[in-house]
Symmetry: C2
Subunit: 202 residues, 2 copies
Amino acid sequence: MGHRERLLAGARVCLYERGYTRTTARDIVAASDTNLASIGYHFGSKEALLTAALVQAFEEWGVEIDRVLRDGTQPDLMDRLESMWTGLVESFGTHRPLWVAGIEAFALAEHLPVLREQLAETYTRARPALATFVIRNGGEHVTEETRRAVGSFLLALMTGLTVQRLLDPEAAPSGKELAEALRVIVGAVNDSTDTTHPPADA
Amino acid sequence: MGHRERLLAGARVCLYERGYTRTTARDIVAASDTNLASIGYHFGSKEALLTAALVQAFEEWGVEIDRVLRDGTQPDLMDRLESMWTGLVESFGTHRPLWVAGIEAFALAEHLPVLREQLAETYTRARPALATFVIRNGGEHVTEETRRAVGSFLLALMTGLTVQRLLDPEAAPSGKELAEALRVIVGAVNDSTDTTHPPADA
DNA sequence: ACCGGATGTATACGTGCGTATAAATTCGGT
DNA sequence: ACCGAATTTATACGCACGTATACATCCGGT
Protein backbone atom coordinates (compact mmCIF):
# COMPACT_ATOMS: atom_id res chain seq x y z
CA MET A 1 0.00 0.00 0.00
CA GLY A 2 1.52 3.30 -1.09
CA HIS A 3 1.82 6.30 1.08
CA ARG A 4 -1.02 8.01 -0.69
CA GLU A 5 -3.55 5.49 0.58
CA ARG A 6 -1.91 5.34 3.99
CA LEU A 7 -2.19 9.11 4.30
CA LEU A 8 -5.86 9.08 3.38
CA ALA A 9 -6.57 6.31 5.88
CA GLY A 10 -4.60 8.07 8.61
CA ALA A 11 -6.36 11.33 7.92
CA ARG A 12 -9.72 9.58 8.27
CA VAL A 13 -8.69 8.17 11.63
CA CYS A 14 -7.65 11.63 12.80
CA LEU A 15 -10.91 13.01 11.50
CA TYR A 16 -12.82 10.61 13.70
CA GLU A 17 -10.59 10.92 16.73
CA ARG A 18 -9.77 14.62 16.80
CA GLY A 19 -11.97 16.25 14.25
CA TYR A 20 -11.07 18.30 11.20
CA THR A 21 -9.83 21.49 12.77
CA ARG A 22 -7.83 19.85 15.54
CA THR A 23 -5.74 17.48 13.44
CA THR A 24 -2.28 18.66 12.41
CA ALA A 25 -0.12 17.45 9.57
CA ARG A 26 2.07 15.67 12.11
CA ASP A 27 -0.94 13.91 13.59
CA ILE A 28 -1.74 12.45 10.20
CA VAL A 29 1.84 11.39 9.65
CA ALA A 30 1.85 9.62 13.02
CA ALA A 31 -1.46 7.91 12.33
CA SER A 32 -0.44 6.79 8.86
CA ASP A 33 3.18 5.85 9.61
CA THR A 34 4.52 7.97 6.80
CA ASN A 35 6.45 11.24 6.85
CA LEU A 36 5.72 14.90 6.74
CA ALA A 37 6.87 15.59 3.21
CA SER A 38 4.70 12.94 1.63
CA ILE A 39 1.62 15.06 2.33
CA GLY A 40 2.92 17.78 0.09
CA TYR A 41 4.06 15.31 -2.51
CA HIS A 42 0.80 13.41 -2.83
CA PHE A 43 -1.81 16.04 -2.01
CA GLY A 44 -0.12 19.40 -2.35
CA SER A 45 -1.25 20.55 1.06
CA LYS A 46 -2.55 19.27 4.34
CA GLU A 47 -5.86 21.02 3.70
CA ALA A 48 -6.34 19.17 0.42
CA LEU A 49 -5.56 15.86 2.06
CA LEU A 50 -7.92 16.49 4.95
CA THR A 51 -10.69 17.60 2.64
CA ALA A 52 -10.25 14.49 0.51
CA ALA A 53 -10.42 12.38 3.65
CA LEU A 54 -13.52 14.23 4.81
CA VAL A 55 -15.25 13.70 1.49
CA GLN A 56 -14.39 10.03 1.75
CA ALA A 57 -15.69 9.87 5.31
CA PHE A 58 -18.82 11.60 4.19
CA GLU A 59 -19.40 9.07 1.46
CA GLU A 60 -19.07 6.39 4.09
CA TRP A 61 -21.59 8.33 6.12
CA GLY A 62 -23.96 8.29 3.17
CA VAL A 63 -23.51 4.53 2.87
CA GLU A 64 -24.33 4.14 6.53
CA ILE A 65 -27.50 6.15 6.08
CA ASP A 66 -28.48 4.04 3.11
CA ARG A 67 -27.93 0.93 5.17
CA VAL A 68 -30.21 2.23 7.89
CA LEU A 69 -32.88 3.19 5.39
CA ARG A 70 -32.78 -0.09 3.53
CA ASP A 71 -34.22 -1.87 6.53
CA GLY A 72 -37.57 -0.13 6.14
CA THR A 73 -39.53 -3.10 4.88
CA GLN A 74 -42.37 -3.24 7.36
CA PRO A 75 -45.77 -3.05 5.69
CA ASP A 76 -47.23 -0.70 8.29
CA LEU A 77 -46.16 2.92 7.94
CA MET A 78 -45.69 3.65 11.62
CA ASP A 79 -43.70 0.46 12.09
CA ARG A 80 -41.54 1.43 9.19
CA LEU A 81 -40.84 4.90 10.53
CA GLU A 82 -40.23 3.70 14.06
CA SER A 83 -37.77 1.05 12.93
CA MET A 84 -35.99 3.58 10.78
CA TRP A 85 -35.59 5.94 13.71
CA THR A 86 -34.53 3.13 15.99
CA GLY A 87 -31.99 2.02 13.41
CA LEU A 88 -30.69 5.55 13.25
CA VAL A 89 -30.25 5.72 17.00
CA GLU A 90 -28.47 2.37 16.98
CA SER A 91 -26.20 3.47 14.19
CA PHE A 92 -25.35 6.57 16.14
CA GLY A 93 -24.34 4.35 19.02
CA THR A 94 -22.13 2.06 16.97
CA HIS A 95 -20.73 4.59 14.52
CA ARG A 96 -20.64 7.69 16.70
CA PRO A 97 -17.41 9.19 15.30
CA LEU A 98 -18.87 8.94 11.83
CA TRP A 99 -21.96 10.90 12.80
CA VAL A 100 -19.97 13.42 14.77
CA ALA A 101 -17.76 13.99 11.74
CA GLY A 102 -20.92 14.46 9.71
CA ILE A 103 -22.11 17.16 12.07
CA GLU A 104 -18.73 18.87 12.04
CA ALA A 105 -18.99 18.82 8.28
CA PHE A 106 -22.12 20.97 8.48
CA ALA A 107 -20.15 23.69 10.19
CA LEU A 108 -17.17 23.33 7.87
CA ALA A 109 -19.40 23.54 4.82
CA GLU A 110 -19.82 27.24 5.49
CA HIS A 111 -16.17 27.83 4.60
CA LEU A 112 -15.37 24.88 2.31
CA PRO A 113 -17.41 25.10 -0.91
CA VAL A 114 -16.24 21.70 -2.14
CA LEU A 115 -17.57 20.04 0.94
CA ARG A 116 -20.74 22.07 0.90
CA GLU A 117 -21.57 20.86 -2.60
CA GLN A 118 -20.87 17.28 -1.66
CA LEU A 119 -23.20 17.57 1.32
CA ALA A 120 -25.89 19.34 -0.65
CA GLU A 121 -25.77 16.65 -3.29
CA THR A 122 -26.04 13.85 -0.76
CA TYR A 123 -29.00 15.60 0.81
CA THR A 124 -30.65 16.07 -2.57
CA ARG A 125 -30.34 12.37 -3.26
CA ALA A 126 -31.53 11.48 0.22
CA ARG A 127 -34.82 13.36 -0.02
CA PRO A 128 -36.66 11.19 -2.55
CA ALA A 129 -35.20 8.07 -0.94
CA LEU A 130 -36.62 9.10 2.40
CA ALA A 131 -39.93 10.11 0.88
CA THR A 132 -40.59 6.53 -0.21
CA PHE A 133 -40.88 5.64 3.45
CA VAL A 134 -44.15 7.50 3.52
CA ILE A 135 -45.40 7.65 -0.03
CA ARG A 136 -44.57 4.13 -1.20
CA ASN A 137 -45.08 2.77 -4.67
CA GLY A 138 -48.71 3.18 -5.48
CA GLY A 139 -48.90 6.85 -4.59
CA GLU A 140 -48.17 8.02 -8.11
CA HIS A 141 -50.61 10.88 -7.87
CA VAL A 142 -48.43 13.00 -5.61
CA THR A 143 -46.37 15.66 -7.33
CA GLU A 144 -42.61 15.65 -7.42
CA GLU A 145 -42.55 18.72 -5.17
CA THR A 146 -44.68 17.05 -2.58
CA ARG A 147 -42.43 14.04 -2.62
CA ARG A 148 -39.42 16.26 -2.11
CA ALA A 149 -41.15 18.11 0.70
CA VAL A 150 -41.88 14.86 2.51
CA GLY A 151 -38.26 13.84 2.02
CA SER A 152 -37.08 17.17 3.40
CA PHE A 153 -39.33 16.74 6.39
CA LEU A 154 -37.96 13.30 7.25
CA LEU A 155 -34.42 14.39 6.48
CA ALA A 156 -34.68 17.34 8.83
CA LEU A 157 -36.04 15.04 11.50
CA MET A 158 -33.10 12.71 10.98
CA THR A 159 -30.48 15.44 11.17
CA GLY A 160 -32.11 16.95 14.23
CA LEU A 161 -32.23 13.58 15.92
CA THR A 162 -28.51 13.02 15.49
CA VAL A 163 -27.74 16.49 16.82
CA GLN A 164 -29.80 15.82 19.92
CA ARG A 165 -28.00 12.49 20.38
CA LEU A 166 -24.70 14.29 20.14
CA LEU A 167 -25.55 17.01 22.64
CA ASP A 168 -27.41 15.01 25.23
CA PRO A 169 -27.93 11.28 24.70
CA GLU A 170 -30.00 11.05 27.89
CA ALA A 171 -32.55 13.60 26.81
CA ALA A 172 -32.61 12.70 23.13
CA PRO A 173 -35.68 10.78 22.03
CA SER A 174 -35.65 7.10 21.14
CA GLY A 175 -37.15 5.80 17.92
CA LYS A 176 -40.17 4.67 19.86
CA GLU A 177 -40.64 8.11 21.42
CA LEU A 178 -40.43 9.79 18.05
CA ALA A 179 -43.08 7.42 16.75
CA GLU A 180 -45.26 8.21 19.71
CA ALA A 181 -44.75 11.91 19.14
CA LEU A 182 -45.83 11.50 15.54
CA ARG A 183 -48.97 9.66 16.64
CA VAL A 184 -49.81 12.47 19.03
CA ILE A 185 -49.25 15.05 16.32
CA VAL A 186 -51.36 13.11 13.83
CA GLY A 187 -54.11 12.90 16.44
CA ALA A 188 -53.91 16.61 17.10
CA VAL A 189 -54.07 17.45 13.41
CA ASN A 190 -57.04 15.17 12.96
CA ASP A 191 -58.83 16.77 15.90
CA SER A 192 -58.24 20.21 14.52
CA THR A 193 -59.39 19.44 10.99
CA ASP A 194 -62.11 16.80 11.37
CA THR A 195 -64.50 19.10 13.19
CA THR A 196 -64.95 22.83 13.39
CA HIS A 197 -64.61 22.73 17.15
CA PRO A 198 -62.00 20.38 18.61
CA PRO A 199 -63.85 17.56 20.40
CA ALA A 200 -63.98 18.04 24.16
CA ASP A 201 -62.98 14.45 24.90
CA ALA A 202 -65.98 12.59 23.43
CA MET B 1 -16.87 50.91 28.10
CA GLY B 2 -13.97 48.92 29.47
CA HIS B 3 -11.81 46.65 27.44
CA ARG B 4 -13.47 43.60 28.90
CA GLU B 5 -16.78 44.39 27.25
CA ARG B 6 -15.09 45.51 24.06
CA LEU B 7 -13.26 42.22 23.84
CA LEU B 8 -16.44 40.24 24.32
CA ALA B 9 -18.21 42.26 21.66
CA GLY B 10 -15.30 41.94 19.24
CA ALA B 11 -15.09 38.21 19.85
CA ARG B 12 -18.79 37.90 19.05
CA VAL B 13 -18.30 39.74 15.79
CA CYS B 14 -15.42 37.44 14.86
CA LEU B 15 -17.54 34.46 15.83
CA TYR B 16 -20.16 35.54 13.33
CA GLU B 17 -17.77 36.58 10.59
CA ARG B 18 -15.07 33.93 10.76
CA GLY B 19 -16.33 31.26 13.11
CA TYR B 20 -14.83 29.96 16.31
CA THR B 21 -11.91 27.98 15.02
CA ARG B 22 -10.77 30.52 12.45
CA THR B 23 -10.57 33.58 14.68
CA THR B 24 -7.19 34.43 16.15
CA ALA B 25 -6.36 36.53 19.15
CA ARG B 26 -5.20 39.27 16.82
CA ASP B 27 -8.50 39.16 14.96
CA ILE B 28 -10.36 39.85 18.18
CA VAL B 29 -8.01 42.67 19.09
CA ALA B 30 -8.56 44.26 15.69
CA ALA B 31 -12.33 43.89 15.93
CA SER B 32 -12.50 45.28 19.43
CA ASP B 33 -9.92 48.06 19.09
CA THR B 34 -7.98 46.90 22.13
CA ASN B 35 -4.60 45.23 22.44
CA LEU B 36 -3.24 41.74 22.59
CA ALA B 37 -2.32 41.69 26.25
CA SER B 38 -5.77 42.65 27.46
CA ILE B 39 -7.07 39.23 26.47
CA GLY B 40 -4.79 37.57 28.96
CA TYR B 41 -5.52 40.17 31.60
CA HIS B 42 -9.29 39.99 31.43
CA PHE B 43 -9.94 36.39 30.39
CA GLY B 44 -6.75 34.47 31.04
CA SER B 45 -6.65 33.02 27.59
CA LYS B 46 -8.04 33.49 24.13
CA GLU B 47 -9.93 30.23 24.44
CA ALA B 48 -11.72 31.40 27.58
CA LEU B 49 -12.69 34.67 25.90
CA LEU B 50 -13.95 32.96 22.80
CA THR B 51 -15.93 30.44 24.80
CA ALA B 52 -17.51 33.21 26.85
CA ALA B 53 -18.43 35.00 23.64
CA LEU B 54 -19.87 31.82 22.19
CA VAL B 55 -22.00 31.20 25.25
CA GLN B 56 -23.23 34.78 24.96
CA ALA B 57 -23.97 34.31 21.26
CA PHE B 58 -25.77 31.13 22.06
CA GLU B 59 -27.95 32.86 24.61
CA GLU B 60 -28.81 35.38 21.94
CA TRP B 61 -29.62 32.46 19.68
CA GLY B 62 -31.99 31.12 22.34
CA VAL B 63 -33.68 34.51 22.54
CA GLU B 64 -34.11 34.51 18.77
CA ILE B 65 -35.73 31.09 18.91
CA ASP B 66 -38.05 32.26 21.67
CA ARG B 67 -39.00 35.23 19.55
CA VAL B 68 -39.88 32.99 16.63
CA LEU B 69 -41.88 30.65 18.82
CA ARG B 70 -43.80 33.41 20.54
CA ASP B 71 -45.60 34.22 17.32
CA GLY B 72 -47.48 30.93 17.36
CA THR B 73 -50.88 32.30 18.28
CA GLN B 74 -53.01 30.99 15.44
CA PRO B 75 -55.96 28.92 16.69
CA ASP B 76 -55.56 26.26 14.02
CA LEU B 77 -52.77 23.79 14.63
CA MET B 78 -51.53 23.56 11.05
CA ASP B 79 -51.53 27.33 10.72
CA ARG B 80 -49.57 27.58 13.92
CA LEU B 81 -46.95 25.09 12.78
CA GLU B 82 -46.66 26.56 9.34
CA SER B 83 -46.19 30.08 10.63
CA MET B 84 -43.59 28.82 13.09
CA TRP B 85 -41.62 27.18 10.33
CA THR B 86 -41.98 30.19 8.10
CA GLY B 87 -40.79 32.39 10.94
CA LEU B 88 -37.81 30.12 11.37
CA VAL B 89 -36.89 30.37 7.72
CA GLU B 90 -37.22 34.14 7.84
CA SER B 91 -35.09 34.33 10.94
CA PHE B 92 -32.47 32.26 9.22
CA GLY B 93 -32.48 34.77 6.41
CA THR B 94 -32.13 37.82 8.61
CA HIS B 95 -29.89 36.36 11.33
CA ARG B 96 -27.88 33.89 9.28
CA PRO B 97 -24.55 34.31 11.12
CA LEU B 98 -26.32 33.61 14.38
CA TRP B 99 -27.72 30.34 13.10
CA VAL B 100 -24.45 29.36 11.49
CA ALA B 101 -22.68 29.97 14.79
CA GLY B 102 -25.29 27.79 16.43
CA ILE B 103 -24.54 24.97 14.05
CA GLU B 104 -20.82 25.35 14.55
CA ALA B 105 -21.52 25.12 18.25
CA PHE B 106 -22.93 21.63 17.74
CA ALA B 107 -19.60 20.46 16.39
CA LEU B 108 -17.62 22.30 19.06
CA ALA B 109 -19.73 20.81 21.81
CA GLU B 110 -18.01 17.49 21.24
CA HIS B 111 -14.76 18.94 22.57
CA LEU B 112 -15.98 21.76 24.83
CA PRO B 113 -17.94 20.36 27.79
CA VAL B 114 -18.97 23.80 29.02
CA LEU B 115 -20.58 24.58 25.73
CA ARG B 116 -22.16 21.16 25.48
CA GLU B 117 -23.92 21.61 28.79
CA GLN B 118 -25.15 25.02 27.80
CA LEU B 119 -26.57 23.64 24.57
CA ALA B 120 -28.09 20.62 26.26
CA GLU B 121 -29.78 22.85 28.81
CA THR B 122 -31.20 25.16 26.17
CA TYR B 123 -32.53 22.15 24.30
CA THR B 124 -34.06 20.74 27.46
CA ARG B 125 -35.88 24.00 28.06
CA ALA B 126 -36.93 24.21 24.43
CA ARG B 127 -38.69 20.84 24.33
CA PRO B 128 -41.71 21.59 26.51
CA ALA B 129 -41.97 25.06 24.99
CA LEU B 130 -42.19 23.54 21.53
CA ALA B 131 -44.59 20.85 22.67
CA THR B 132 -47.19 23.46 23.54
CA PHE B 133 -47.46 24.19 19.84
CA VAL B 134 -49.18 20.86 19.43
CA ILE B 135 -50.57 19.92 22.80
CA ARG B 136 -51.94 23.27 23.93
CA ASN B 137 -53.55 24.00 27.26
CA GLY B 138 -56.46 21.65 27.60
CA GLY B 139 -54.53 18.49 26.85
CA GLU B 140 -53.71 17.78 30.48
CA HIS B 141 -54.15 14.06 30.03
CA VAL B 142 -50.90 13.54 28.15
CA THR B 143 -47.96 12.38 30.21
CA GLU B 144 -44.86 14.42 30.77
CA GLU B 145 -42.87 11.97 28.65
CA THR B 146 -45.22 12.31 25.74
CA ARG B 147 -44.98 16.06 25.98
CA ARG B 148 -41.21 15.85 25.92
CA ALA B 149 -41.30 13.47 22.97
CA VAL B 150 -43.43 15.87 20.98
CA GLY B 151 -41.04 18.66 21.89
CA SER B 152 -38.08 16.56 20.78
CA PHE B 153 -39.81 15.83 17.51
CA LEU B 154 -40.41 19.48 16.71
CA LEU B 155 -36.97 20.46 17.95
CA ALA B 156 -35.31 17.91 15.69
CA LEU B 157 -37.35 19.22 12.80
CA MET B 158 -36.23 22.73 13.59
CA THR B 159 -32.55 21.88 13.81
CA GLY B 160 -32.69 19.83 10.66
CA LEU B 161 -34.42 22.64 8.84
CA THR B 162 -31.69 25.11 9.71
CA VAL B 163 -29.00 22.67 8.60
CA GLN B 164 -30.70 22.24 5.25
CA ARG B 165 -30.94 26.02 4.90
CA LEU B 166 -27.24 26.27 5.61
CA LEU B 167 -26.17 23.63 3.12
CA ASP B 168 -28.48 24.39 0.26
CA PRO B 169 -30.99 27.23 0.58
CA GLU B 170 -32.43 26.42 -2.84
CA ALA B 171 -33.32 22.85 -2.00
CA ALA B 172 -34.31 23.45 1.60
CA PRO B 173 -38.03 23.37 2.25
CA SER B 174 -40.11 26.45 3.01
CA GLY B 175 -42.46 26.60 5.95
CA LYS B 176 -45.36 25.99 3.61
CA GLU B 177 -43.70 22.91 2.13
CA LEU B 178 -43.03 21.48 5.56
CA ALA B 179 -46.68 22.00 6.44
CA GLU B 180 -47.71 20.25 3.26
CA ALA B 181 -45.35 17.40 4.04
CA LEU B 182 -46.92 17.03 7.44
CA ARG B 183 -50.39 16.93 5.89
CA VAL B 184 -49.27 14.18 3.52
CA ILE B 185 -47.74 12.22 6.40
CA VAL B 186 -50.86 12.63 8.50
CA GLY B 187 -52.93 11.41 5.56
CA ALA B 188 -50.69 8.40 5.08
CA VAL B 189 -50.80 7.50 8.75
CA ASN B 190 -54.58 7.80 8.72
CA ASP B 191 -54.83 5.59 5.66
CA SER B 192 -52.64 2.95 7.23
CA THR B 193 -54.49 2.85 10.57
CA ASP B 194 -58.12 3.63 9.71
CA THR B 195 -58.63 0.47 7.69
CA THR B 196 -56.98 -2.91 7.52
CA HIS B 197 -56.31 -2.44 3.82
CA PRO B 198 -55.21 0.98 2.64
CA PRO B 199 -58.04 2.46 0.53
CA ALA B 200 -57.36 2.19 -3.19
CA ASP B 201 -58.39 5.77 -3.92
CA ALA B 202 -62.06 5.69 -2.85
C1' DA C 1 -0.54 65.87 46.45
C1' DC C 2 0.44 61.33 46.71
C1' DC C 3 0.07 56.53 46.98
C1' DG C 4 -1.35 51.87 45.39
C1' DG C 5 -4.02 48.90 43.04
C1' DA C 6 -6.35 48.25 38.80
C1' DT C 7 -6.20 48.59 34.08
C1' DG C 8 -4.10 49.48 29.53
C1' DT C 9 -0.06 48.97 26.31
C1' DA C 10 4.19 47.76 23.62
C1' DT C 11 6.88 44.22 22.64
C1' DA C 12 9.36 39.99 22.84
C1' DC C 13 9.51 34.98 23.54
C1' DG C 14 8.89 30.26 22.52
C1' DT C 15 6.35 26.97 20.15
C1' DG C 16 4.05 24.33 16.79
C1' DC C 17 2.54 24.73 12.46
C1' DG C 18 2.45 23.96 7.17
C1' DT C 19 5.50 23.79 3.60
C1' DA C 20 9.82 23.67 0.83
C1' DT C 21 14.28 21.70 -0.32
C1' DA C 22 17.50 18.46 -1.35
C1' DA C 23 19.24 14.04 -0.76
C1' DA C 24 18.28 9.02 -0.61
C1' DT C 25 15.87 5.16 -2.18
C1' DT C 26 13.03 2.31 -4.96
C1' DC C 27 11.83 0.24 -9.20
C1' DG C 28 10.40 -0.72 -13.94
C1' DG C 29 12.27 -0.70 -18.60
C1' DT C 30 15.97 -1.98 -21.64
C1' DA D 1 23.73 -3.79 -14.90
C1' DC D 2 22.29 0.68 -15.55
C1' DC D 3 19.56 4.74 -16.15
C1' DG D 4 15.86 7.91 -15.14
C1' DA D 5 11.60 8.79 -13.23
C1' DA D 6 8.81 8.22 -9.28
C1' DT D 7 8.64 8.04 -4.64
C1' DT D 8 10.25 8.32 0.14
C1' DT D 9 12.88 10.53 3.71
C1' DA D 10 15.35 13.86 6.75
C1' DT D 11 15.55 18.27 7.83
C1' DA D 12 15.16 23.14 7.91
C1' DC D 13 12.78 27.45 6.96
C1' DG D 14 9.60 31.02 7.91
C1' DC D 15 5.67 32.38 9.94
C1' DA D 16 1.63 33.14 12.72
C1' DC D 17 0.06 32.01 16.88
C1' DG D 18 -0.96 32.38 22.09
C1' DT D 19 1.10 34.04 25.98
C1' DA D 20 4.30 36.36 29.23
C1' DT D 21 6.88 40.36 30.72
C1' DA D 22 7.81 44.82 31.88
C1' DC D 23 6.41 49.33 31.68
C1' DA D 24 2.91 53.15 31.38
C1' DT D 25 -1.33 55.17 32.64
C1' DC D 26 -5.48 55.86 35.12
C1' DC D 27 -8.12 56.72 39.22
C1' DG D 28 -10.25 56.51 43.80
C1' DG D 29 -9.02 57.09 48.65
C1' DT D 30 -6.86 59.80 52.12
